[in-house]
């Protein structure tokens, strides 16, 4: 649980859907829910004996990788010590600085240059699910689906409307590999300044390498995407089919939306307050009902949602889904 506070912080700044939840949650609530999730996960693992073989394989391959890394580390430490001795020798004091020993990458680099534990990565990914789907049947939601993300050019997945900046970065040649994804996950706006992804970033490099290991499973050979689709999740609030089926009146939605735009900027800027333009209709409707029923705790949003009828929520969703 050493990483739980790091997780909590990233949830606070995290995706729009998660943002509201974090306001009212204490770290204790979060830990309790994390504990529930872990208990469920443990139950799942215990139930599926067939998983054990795979896990054992994975464990032995991780062990092998670990011993490789240990060997590399020992070699690197030795090289560094040798170089330090050389530097201390009288001849080396006048040496060209270019010949100084390079900082050892294994020791100095805190970025996730290696894949971590995919099972733990799946848990870390929970906070991404409000916006991103992955696995069999995954579709674009608030964010694009992440099947086949490795090797994909940034902003290039057909059918998803990216921010201008993301498209520009893709055009400039940004491709999603372990290093670029690691940098993006650490601080999205540092890599793509006006990305629509409203997420503060994962500061813990272990979280990032674990999540990258999880994502990697859905990229190497997409035909091997597991049958148990992680997208089969219950909605945040149960809504009657007729509520979801309401076709929103976009004109009315535009008027109602003028109230939202006092805070939520239409151009997708999201400093302190998330962007809500171009959300899929259903996600918008579910989120607003979650505020209306006070499942999501943000007081301003609860107040705004409290007086909106089902038709008005549908109207807003219809308007924002198409808003430029």
């Amino acid at each position: 649980m050493a990483h739980s506070s790091g997780l909590f912080l990233s949830v606070i700044g995290g995706a729009a859907l998660v943002l509201g939840v974090a306001y009212g949650w204490t770290a204790r609530d979060y830990r309790a829910s994390e504990l529930d999730a872990l208990t469920d996960r443990l139950g799942q693992l215990e139930r599926s004996n067939s998983d054990w073989a795979a896990k054992a394989d994975q464990a032995s391959s991780l062990e092998a990788r670990l011993s490789e890394l240990e060997t590399e580390l020992a070699a690197a430490v030795k090289a560094a010590e040798d170089a330090q001795q050389a530097a201390l020798a009288p001849v080396a004091t006048v040496a060209d600085p270019l010949q100084q020993p390079a900082t050892n990458p294994v020791i100095a680099d805190a970025s996730a240059s290696e894949f971590g534990n995919p099972a733990r990565g799946e848990e870390v990914f929970a906070q991404c699910r409000s916006c991103h789907q992955i696995g069999q049947g995954a579709t674009d939601r608030i964010g694009p689906h992440l099947n086949g993300i490795f090797g994909r050019r940034a902003g290039a997945h057909d059918g998803f409307r990216y921010s201008d900046d993301m498209q520009m970065m893709g055009a400039d040649g940004l491709t999603w590999e372990i290093e670029t994804l690691d940098a993006y996950l650490e601080n999205p706006k540092a890599l793509v300044s006006r990305t629509r992804m409203n997420f503060a970033g994962l500061k813990d490099s272990q979280d990032r390498s674990d999540i990258l290991a999880y994502l990697r499973q859905f990229s190497a050979s997409p035909q091997n995407i597991p049958e148990a689709a992680p997208t089969a999740q219950a909605r945040e609030v149960e809504l009657a089919p007729e509520v979801l089926a309401i076709v929103g009146d976009t004109d009315y939605g535009e008027y109602l939306a003028s109230e939202c735009k006092t805070c939520h900027q239409q151009d997708g800027s999201d400093r302190g307050i998330p962007s809500i333009t171009q959300w899929p209709t259903e996600d918008f409707v579910v989120a607003m009902h979650a505020y209306k029923r006070q499942i999501r705790p943000h007081p301003v949003m609860q107040m705004m949602a409290s007086r909106l009828s089902d038709e008005e929520i549908a109207a807003l969703a219809a308007y924002f889904a198409k808003a430029e």
């Binding site: 204490t26 008027y255 006092t262 999201d270 302190g272 007086r307 038709e311």
Partner: protein, 421 residues
């Protein structure tokens, strides 16, 4: 149950049928809307009418200043959290992107029969619908000894711009261990938590630069907005620095002497280094000049923000007497959208929906210690009434307070782009 637009309008929206057919007679070209005052109410109304009528309505905005300095967030400038240039906004985009005719002049009067607005620079501008959003002016004699000629010695800093800069300079120039006195205003006034956020920001600056300085508030009100939150924060961040003299101890009985730099609070004379006098307030002068006030404020009907005294004039924001909404930039912005929709409906027959209003006021108490209060409102025939509300709680954790502060920055960026495009 799949609702289409027709069914929805039929069941939910009686208001739409009432206002739909009143299309403007096209006898003298396009209908003309004149907006007086380019702040949170006026700039928003002008922009929404121009944007949503897509050229069907001529919009003129009359505003004397070329750069608008927001009053909201000016306290953060005093506290060193916000740059002066980030308070300033230009009207350029309203002209270039929205086709609004921006006239930099003072509106001095309204001829309600001829439907024209006269300008200080000469000439007049005709209107079919007029929107007044002039903000506040001060009630003469409300603080004996103070008038506008004393505003350099004892600044109000309650309208954005040079007064804010002046007050900041005076605070920075206070002698070591000096005294800052605020004469707080009686209700109702612009930005209910504003004076107390200002006290927090002044304390923040003095704590860093002049920690033995004292702050005194002479206050005519028994209670004030977010009182529990502010008092908790002052205790926590600025213990012993701030003294508030309420009406029980003579806080309503104040006179000032700008030449001697003294404040007399119920017979007790305080020698001060900075005196920030925030006088009692009333609707911007143009409302009175146009004969649209009752008492200090301009009464309006909350369904459309139309004046109760003239059906062709809508009034927004701080100048109005509308009911439960506080006088704030957020409120004015919210009211502007209702008025813009009503004006377009009346002039072009566009759809009109039932009015909804909201307001949230964020305040900063210290670094990363933000709080907020807000409510949602709906009009009835009598007034705009509060339908639900919330307020930050005492004892909230630091992460929530920081998130609240960051949210306020998001709001500032949101509302200023909503006003100026």
């Amino acid at each position: 149950m799949k609702l289409n637009r027709r069914a929805f309008v039929g069941t939910g929206m009686a208001a739409a049928t009432l206002s739909a057919p009143m299309v403007h007679a096209a006898s003298h070209g396009k209908p003309k809307v004149v907006v007086v005052g380019g702040g949170a109410g006026g700039a928003t109304a002008a922009r929404y009418i121009a944007k949503d009528s897509a050229g069907e309505i001529d919009v003129t905005l009359i505003e004397p200043t070329r750069s608008y300095y927001t009053c909201f967030f000016s306290n953060l400038y005093l506290g060193g959290f916000w740059d002066l240039e980030n308070l300033s906004h230009s009207y350029g985009k309203l002209a270039s992107d929205y086709g609004i005719n921006v006239v930099h002049d003072w509106a001095t009067g309204v001829d309600r029969d001829a439907k024209t607005v006269s300008l200080a620079g000469g000439g007049s501008v005709p209107y079919d619908r007029l929107i007044l959003s002039p903000g506040i002016d001060f009630v003469e004699g409300s603080v004996p000894g103070w008038d506008m000629s004393a505003q350099n010695a004892m600044p109000h800093a309650y309208k954005g711009g040079s007064q804010t800069e002046l007050l900041k300079a005076q605070i920075m120039a206070m002698p070591e261990g000096g005294t800052y006195v605020m004469v707080a205003p009686p209700n109702p006034y612009r930005c209910p938590p504003g004076p107390y956020e200002r006290i927090s920001m002044v304390a923040h600056v003095l704590k860093a630069n002049n920690p033995t300085a004292k702050i005194i508030i002479a206050d005519p009100k028994e209670k004030f907005s977010k009182q529990g939150l502010f008092e908790e924060g002052w205790q926590k961040h600025y213990p012993g620095m701030i003294t508030r003299i309420g009406p029980d101890f003579g806080g309503e009985n104040v006179t000032v002497d700008p030449s001697a730099m003294t404040v007399d609070v119920d017979g007790e004379l305080i020698k001060a280094d900075v005196v920030n006098v925030i006088p009692a307030q009333k609707a911007g002068l143009i409302c009175d000049a146009a004969g649209l006030t009752e008492g200090n404020w301009a009464p309006v009907d909350g369904h459309t923000m139309v004046s109760r005294l003239d059906e062709n004039i809508h009034i927004l924001g701080d100048a109005t007497n509308q009911g439960d909404m506080p006088k704030s930039g957020y409120s004015a912005n919210s009211q502007a959208k209702v008025a813009a929709m009503a004006v377009r409906g009346a002039l072009t027959g566009s759809r009109v929906f039932p009015a909804k209003f909201s307001n949230t006021c964020w305040s900063l108490i210290a670094t990363d210690d933000g709080v907020k209060v807000g409510a949602a409102y709906e009009p009835n025939d009598e007034k705009i009434a509060s339908v639900s509300s919330f307020v930050s709680q005492t004892g909230e954790d630091a992460a929530l307070r920081k998130a609240t502060y960051e949210e306020s920055i998001g709001w500032y960026e949101g509302i200023t782009s909503d006003m100026f495009g």
